[in-house]
């Protein structure tokens, strides 16, 4: 993994609740997706909201000794802070990209929610009422 230039201005930054894990993003953020899959809902305790598909080399992480990874499926693992439990990252096993949990980003993020995915797995305790595109599973063709 190549290191981003240390003196370049990051496009975005974020951290976990306790501050043990911090990151800077050196690539433009992509529109956010709300994921209603049961794995996201169990782990986040809520629908996950992610800005996805960032090149791994564009994200510089500090405090990696506190970052724990849980392999939630054959396809992906999920990164969280071992001290405060904050959800930070979702990373596919076979790609060189990383998704960032929007709640961990410093405000303002400048992001807008663009779509809902895995709505077939939505919880029964809320409704989706906006007009954004909805996909029963992933939005991959």
């Amino acid at each position: 993994m190549s290191e981003p230039a240390k003196n370049a201005a990051p496009e975005a930054a974020g951290h976990c609740l306790c501050g043990a894990v911090r990151y800077r993003v050196f690539a433009p953020l992509r529109p956010a997706s709300a994921c209603h899959c049961s794995q996201c809902r169990r782990q986040h305790g809520a629908a996950g909201i992610y800005t996805g598909g960032l090149p791994v080399e564009s994200v510089a992480i500090e405090g990696t000794e506190h970052l724990r990874w849980y392999q939630s499926s054959a396809a992906a693992r999920r990164g969280f802070c071992g001290r405060c439990g904050s959800k930070l990252f979702w990373r596919p096993m076979d790609q060189r990209t990383i998704d960032i949990a929007a709640g961990s980003l410093d405000q303002p993020t400048g992001l807008a929610l663009a779509q809902h995915i895995f709505v077939a797995d939505k919880g029964d305790y809320y409704e989706i009422v906006d007009e954004l595109p909805r996909f029963p599973g992933s939005n991959a063709a």
């Binding site: 609740l17 809902r41 169990r42 305790g45 909201i49 939630s72 959800k87 029964d124 305790y125």
Partner: protein, 143 residues
């Protein structure tokens, strides 16, 4: 004519990896979504919580449960193995808020309110027409 809806008095749930499981055998509150910066950081998104009395909750796998003291008043419980956010406990009240996403479906619960909307993230909008409070349920005036 609206029918009076009975709130659930039984629920089960677990973390993503299954190390921590719980059963609620008592009244459960409808779901309140919290938009405060602490919740959004820890959950990675605004979480909805039900609430119950500790005395009505049976917990299994407590060894995997890690508590993080996020303020003077409260602590947050998560699974050390998979990182799932499960509990927000206002200390000393005998009650605990339970992240709705950790509950098995169907929950029989409904979302009724949004709190701390003054701290909402800029990356989503609240469109559902439910009650919104700028702060907590105890101190806030409607947003």
């Amino acid at each position: 004519m609206s029918q009076i809806r009975q709130l659930p008095t039984h629920g089960r749930g677990h973390c993503l990896c299954g190390a921590i499981r719980f059963e609620i055998s008592g009244p459960m509150r409808d779901v309140v979504v919290c938009h405060c910066g602490q919740c959004r950081r820890q959950h990675g998104a605004p979480p909805g919580y039900t609430q119950a009395a500790w005395e009505h909750i049976r917990l299994e796998g407590e060894k995997a449960l890690t508590w993080y003291r996020s303020s003077e008043k409260a602590r947050r419980g998560f699974c050390r193995i998979c990182g799932s956010s499960l509990f927000w406990e206002p200390i000393g009240t005998g009650r605990v808020s339970i992240a709705a996403g950790s509950l098995d479906s169907p929950t029989g619960l409904k979302t009724i309110r949004h709190i701390f909307v003054a701290d909402k993230g800029d990356y989503y909008e609240i469109h559902d027409g439910l009650e919104q409070l700028s702060g907590s349920m105890l101190t806030a005036s409607p947003a």
